[in-house]
């Protein structure tokens, strides 16, 4: 049964920001995590792809972090409801960005 309250994930989920062209934003997030996982495996299994896989991962998590930042802004100031799952995902994505940021920095510093 559905109960509607302010501050629930329901409010966020039912908002117009929960989908883009019919694709749930949560599905985009899941696709991002899967892509990062796949690129991580590729980088590990096929060392020659290291440079490009690292940069691709960085690109994906950078996009993810910026979009998560936008969605968090929307949650706080537009929908005025916070969904803890969304916040968790945003923090995870930020963590990925920091990790990948270090990987990219090391790569750029290599002789």
């Amino acid at each position: 049964m559905l109960i509607c309250g302010v501050g629930d994930c329901a409010t966020v989920q039912q908002s117009s920001y929960a989908e883009i062209a019919g694709i749930p934003v949560a599905a985009l997030g899941l696709a991002m995590y899967l892509a990062v996982l796949a690129l991580g495996a590729l980088r590990w299994l096929v060392p020659t792809t290291r440079d490009i896989a690292t940069m691709a991962t960085f690109s994906i998590v950078l996009a993810g972090t910026l979009y998560a930042a936008y969605l968090t802004y929307v949650e706080i100031w537009v929908i005025e409801a916070i969904c803890q799952w969304c916040v968790t995902s945003a923090i995870l994505t930020l963590g990925l960005l920091i990790t990948e940021g270090f990987a990219v920095r090391n790569l750029l510093r290599e002789p």
Binding site: I3, F58, S59, A63, Y70, L108
Partner: protein, 266 residues
């Protein structure tokens, strides 16, 4: 002589190899910088596209055509405004709801007809629906900005005003069920004034009076009063039911029946 020439040749070879290596390293660094630049550029383009698609999508999200109410309420049951049932029934069941709330839509289409048949038509209870329009945040924002609540608007509030006009015309329950049969997301136009008007016309309301009421906000004070009352007694989510001042929520029709039976027995 020949050893010196050999050494010179060897040194030249080494320095050529070193130069080559330096050149290769330079190229690799350059390639990585290009990758990095592309990575950042692609990320920015993707995010801009996502945000734009979302902002533009708001306007182009097409709404389905207005549907008939999915359920009908027996017109022979006595009613007074937003209350249905025998005025002398011993128990009054109140439902607090928001027309944009999917949970309220669920109970309206799945529990209410059964409830009316089992308890209201039989004279055991009378049933009242009260608006607690909060999902459009119209009242909450007005309150925060220190504005008069009667100036606030939003799709939940407008739907409640329209329903109040339907009540004034004696067709509250028909309009109520028709609204819930036409829910489509929240705050994205399902209950725009134009669509409320279409629903009203489908239900057979006096459209001149309906237009006048919505235009002049004839019922806004009544809606604000219900919202204030809801806040005062502690409504924070919908649908919330009330019997004898006791608030509760239900997971199933059986839950609701149990509460009513307990009240009837007590």
């Amino acid at each position: 002589m020949s050893t010196r020439a050999n050494r010179a040749r060897a040194e030249a070879r080494v320095s050529r190899r070193a130069r080559n290596r330096i050149e290769q390293q330079r190229k690799a660094r350059q390639r990585r910088l290009i990758y990095f630049g592309s990575a950042v550029a692609v990320a920015l383009i993707v995010v801009a596209t996502l945000i734009l698609a979302n902002l533009l999508g708001d306007d182009t999200d097409d709404l389905p055509r207005i549907r008939e109410a999915a359920v009908t309420i027996d017109p022979s049951i006595p009613r007074e405004g937003r209350v249905i049932g025998d005025p002398n029934a011993p128990i009054t069941l109140i439902e607090w709801g928001d027309y944009q709330c999917p949970g309220c839509g669920y109970v309206a289409l799945n529990f209410t007809p059964q409830l009316i048949q089992d308890y209201v038509a039989t004279g055991k209870i009378k049933f009242e629906y009260r608006d607690f329009p909060f999902l459009d945040l119209g009242f909450a924002n007005a309150k925060r900005n220190g504005r008069d609540l009667t100036t606030a608007s939003g799709e939940s509030i407008r739907a409640a005003e329209a329903a109040a006009e339907a009540a004034a015309q004696g067709k509250f329950w028909e309009f109520h069920e028709a609204l819930f049969s036409n829910q489509h997301g929240e705050n994205k136009g399902a209950f725009s004034d134009g669509r409320l008007r279409e629903i009203a016309s489908k239900v057979g309301l006096d459209m001149a009076a309906f237009d006048e009421a919505l235009e002049s906000r004839k019922h806004i004070a009544e809606v604000v009063a219900m919202y204030d009352e809801g806040e005062r007694i502690g409504i924070s989510s919908t649908p919330t039911y009330e019997i004898n001042g006791q608030l509760f929520q239900v997971q199933s029709y059986e839950d609701l029946v149990q509460r009513i039976e307990a009240a009837l027995a007590g």
